[in-house]
Symmetry: D2
Subunit: 380 residues, 4 copies
């Protein structure tokens, strides 16, 4: 069972002190995770649930086919679902909307002054929208100022990456930061929950692997990390100068995207590495790479954000780890796990990474993003 | 249900005309597949079943915990299991022995004049032992002459590759043959049957993926294809000049090893390919690669060997194929399936391949090897 | 891979000699099985494929999302899908229609003179429609005469039972025939394919069991066997005087419905059984029950119908059989398997039974029904 | 992820105040659950880990192949495994020993004055050993006095039932208590973890169900509940006068035993029920049964034992619940879930029940037993 995110010692005692929020697309799989994770959140409280025509007007308990292994929170249960597009009382909106409607709806709410923290893919690559992983690129929040100028108000959209991308970007970020990466070759083995509750028929996936995921999954993995690992120059995003090749697969696993990663360093580090391999010279050793991974921290840790894992990346020593079922729930599903770091005979290094796709890779990611916004005073 | 291999029209009518064979390690998972596939074989008939101490002396039906989804053949059922090491009446031996005993036992039988067609790993890399995939390197049988000289008799060992390697080598062989390959980057997703019946606990693999396989699986995948795709110079094997990087994973699939493959061409083809990508020039197009794959044939097809698939590699157009459950049984499990051929942003090309690991990747492979030996007059 | 049904020695050589047939609902899961099983059928040939609006006018290959593990037959592939309700050239129609449309459509075709051999549930309990399992109640075909009188033509509907019911009815038929059954208590563990390709989401069933199946599954199991095991009196069906209690469950199995069955005999046999248990007297011994099961044969076996299994029920001795994956394909999926026959401390006997739900339990059942019709001259 | 058992508000702050305990068979699957559940236990602290020869002398982290989805507690990790049979410092021993050694070892420790709280089957049916489910038969602890007399000391053995039996006994206990049960017919669908980590090969259970479990599973289910639901007369256990028929199955589920249950009331209640069904009379209605289930409480709830669920049985309204994956973790795995209560056409009532087999059905059950012993002053 997935534990709800832990409350820090200084959590506000009263629910009424918490910031009211709305969840857009509240009946879907990501929406349900938002509802679950918000139940005990120390800073935010669920105030409105919003969904499409079909659900609007119903009690949330009736509109949502609750599928999580925790009990539907009583307060959410009794809420009446509001219609997408309706004027909302909350200013902070979490969006788990389907991409078929997210583009326009999120834009409208942002233009109306709301802060939309979205898990949808529609605005991820927009020129002034942060594609945020707080441990990696908190400075991308600088783009919000420009975005607000464009909108002429206090509204904005902040997005989190595709579920696989979060795992990949987190796993390589310490290496990119310390040594610079030129190429990443990744093969993913993704859990069925990534496709939503009804996304993958059991007849399709039992005793099977499907070497394909629709919706441009490979393209997202090949492009989003470049924005994430790049920099905000003050007026535009400059992507990291790396090339990514992604093969994606769907596997019969409930939660947890596993991926094998090979990567090539760039510039001086690469030269040193190549030299090191030939001559035994002491440049980027496996130990140095590993240390970069284990000591990796970011603003969420410094700020003590409520959903922040203490250690963003867990390096596992056992030769057969990480594994989805055994490691996906580390730090309430908010840590990425990495293992099997070793030399690659073709690129420079290789390793295995795992991310809980519906927590760190979706709803938990958005929550952490909102916490960073609050901590930085950007929700006001 | 796996169909038994089809009988050609001119199959010998009488069982007594067929060549008597023994199966070493007959009670294990590969051994059982041998027994199954031999039941209706037109050239060979099962004459002896051989296993370790624990099983020796028992009826085969009692010694083997039959786990295949076809019925245990009646003739095999009634045979008394002979002790490994005993003198056998058959000269052709199929070995599915565990690697802990295969090394010595196979050597002894070969020195005693037997032709040992083995699925075990022990002698695969021996200097004068063919690591045979008949469609690819039938000329490696030239090594047998040297091997027989060494042994001073008519005995010899012929091996087939690791189950994943067969899939990989088959999938890339047409490209290597026509264009030359410099680098292969492969991530496998391997079925549980590859570990034997009791190899993977259900508690370990349900709702899970294990990013590791013991016994040097990655090392085999990184070395065996070089021997297979290399040449027999007349007195030694010259490995193909390529580098391979393998990540292996165990997935909850019964049969069928799926793999994502990226590869870089070498020399002139590579230059042309690089040029082609930049300049739109007409060198190694995806169509040319695909045609190489689809038209690929070898001696088994020319000779019409009983276990030979009509088309060794099936190229599948659907964007989400091949899939283990849907494609593993093509041509009775003897064809390899390939799909999703496309450009790789890092190496040159990428694709997905699938092999039935216990048929084409094990017992069926050995059977085809033995058929080639017979067709070439090397069993006499 | 499921083998196609075997051709008898005297199969008509020429396809043109075979009876042309249409498949209604050809794009669905049962429809696809019809198309698969008809490919090599010695008496029938697929002539028309019929489906709803959405598919009508398309090539079958495009309209059907082919999901079976054999290759889509070329002839079917090229056919244009006809619209449900259109006038057809074939007189024999196999129906795999969804129950939402089957009721009316089948009725219309039957009234128009067609022989509709249906797998749908709509007309199963109709007063003059046979609910046919040829081994059990071939004499129910007597109802066709009355049905034709009602329709005023040569058309009629013949149905086969629910997939679980076929397994249950077959397993108990020999006992009912020889001893008489008063009560049956059954718990099913049903495969996902029984719900159609998209019927069960993987998120719902992986690492799970669902103790419920919609659409009145338990009610069907509690009523259909009474009609099947009853008799046609000449003008009405008289149900067998037994009571059935069914608990149903969905399990993560691809194909094959497994069920545990306890039953109480009726009348004299029951008395003898009760006496026997107390006094050791020699009435309905387990051996007698078992012999009834193993020697059970019916008209399909006597007539040598092409799809008939040689032995309708396989009794398995091993204490842990039958099992879905290992036993569902016995006799091309047309045999029911039974094991673990023993005394029940509450009712009289208990046992385990298995049926391949999409072959013997659906498309194969309808095919066998049509074969019986043809053999009895009822297709003319 | 399974949450550790919650700490009550008044938990002792200091670890040193807690009662030291040893875990016998600490490296096995039940042993690991004991270690996990003891980590944050408010009354007990893990002091010694004990296992067989093979593990003795090793660090626990090295001896145990830790397979739970929580992290191995640091304190346990560093402990040196003691040899089974060695003199221990703890007086309270939790036993997860394999039944091949549990019989003698537990007997010896009890005779030496230890309180052995065992999950093993060996002593469950002993004439003076409680087979304890604290909500049901806390008064069975009366047998300890007699047992201590026999042993001539303060030692004793207290056992918990088989994992399926706990689910069954809990589910029917309220009905037995209020109305009296004559017959129970149960079919179980049991998780693989019930067989230990290596108990079920993945090749055996993927895409499969096995209708059999060795070790006398059905016999245990048919006998243990009679002792549990019976009474301690002061000098002997008088079994409940009921008959049970059990069919068991292994299904591809990680944790959680699901079971379908039909039952017949006895005596007056049965007569009323039969009358009620025929005549519409108002005796044991489904509502009355349900209320008995929902209001069921026992000593653990009254005493507020740390591991006690607030509500021992959760009745679920949804027509398709309980389900193993969704409901097994209710109240940290300590509650049993029941649903689908309805009339049975053969016996009187039927329903579905679920128990977390390794928590409430094993280690958690033993922990609760020990807590009851402590609360009753029986550990002194």
């Amino acid at each position: 069972m997935t534990e709800t995110l832990a409350l820090p010692a200084d959590a506000p005692a009263k629910r009424s002190d918490r910031i009211p929020v709305a969840v857009l697309g509240a009946t879907g799989s990501v929406g349900q995770r938002f509802v679950q994770l918000l139940e005990a959140h120390p800073w935010f409280r669920l105030h409105e649930v919003v969904a499409s025509d079909r659900s609007a007007g119903k009690r949330y308990a009736d509109a949502a086919d609750w599928r999580l292994d925790s009990i539907l929170p009583a307060e959410a249960s009794a809420m009446t679902v509001k219609q997408l597009g309706a004027r909302l009382e909350s200013r902070l909106l979490f969006s788990g909307l389907d991409s078929s409607v997210a583009g326009e709806a999120e834009e409208e709410y942002a233009n109306a002054g709301c802060v939309v923290v979205s898990n949808s893919r529609n605005h991820r690559m927009d020129a002034d929208v942060p594609l945020l992983i707080p441990e990696i690129n908190a400075e991308h929040l600088g783009a919000i100022e420009q975005q607000r100028r464009r909108r002429g108000g206090r509204g904005c959209i902040v997005t989190n990456p595709n579920c696989s991308v979060i795992g990949l970007a987190m796993a390589v970020a310490p290496i990119e930061r310390d040594f610079g990466i030129e190429q990443i070759h990744v093969t993913t083995m993704q859990a069925i929950s990534g496709a939503g509750y009804n996304g993958v028929a059991s007849y399709a996936i039992l005793d099977n692997v499907i070497p394909y995921i629709g919706g441009g999954e490979e393209e997202k993995i090949e492009s989003e990390p470049r924005k994430i690992l790049g920099r905000w120059s003050g007026d535009r995003f400059e992507p990291a100068p790396m090339t990514i090749s992604a093969h994606v697969n769907r596997v019969p696993v409930i939660d947890g995207h596993l991926m094998t990663i090979s990567l090539r360093l760039r510039g001086a580090a690469a030269a040193a590495s190549a030299a090191g391999r030939r001559a035994g010279a002491p440049a980027p050793t496996l130990e140095a790479i590993r240390e970069a991974i284990e000591t990796f921290r970011g603003e969420p840790q410094e700020l003590g954000l409520p959903s922040a894992p203490k250690q963003p990346i867990h390096y596992l020593d056992a030769p057969d780890r990480p594994q989805p079922r055994l490691d996906r729930d580390r730090e309430q599903g908010m840590s990425v796990s990495v293992g099997r770091l070793r030399r690659c005979p073709i690129l420079h290094y290789r390793m295995v990474a795992l991310v809980h796709n519906t927590i760190r890779g979706a709803a938990g990611a958005a929550l952490l993003n909102a916490e960073l916004l609050e901590a930085k005073g950007l929700l006001r």
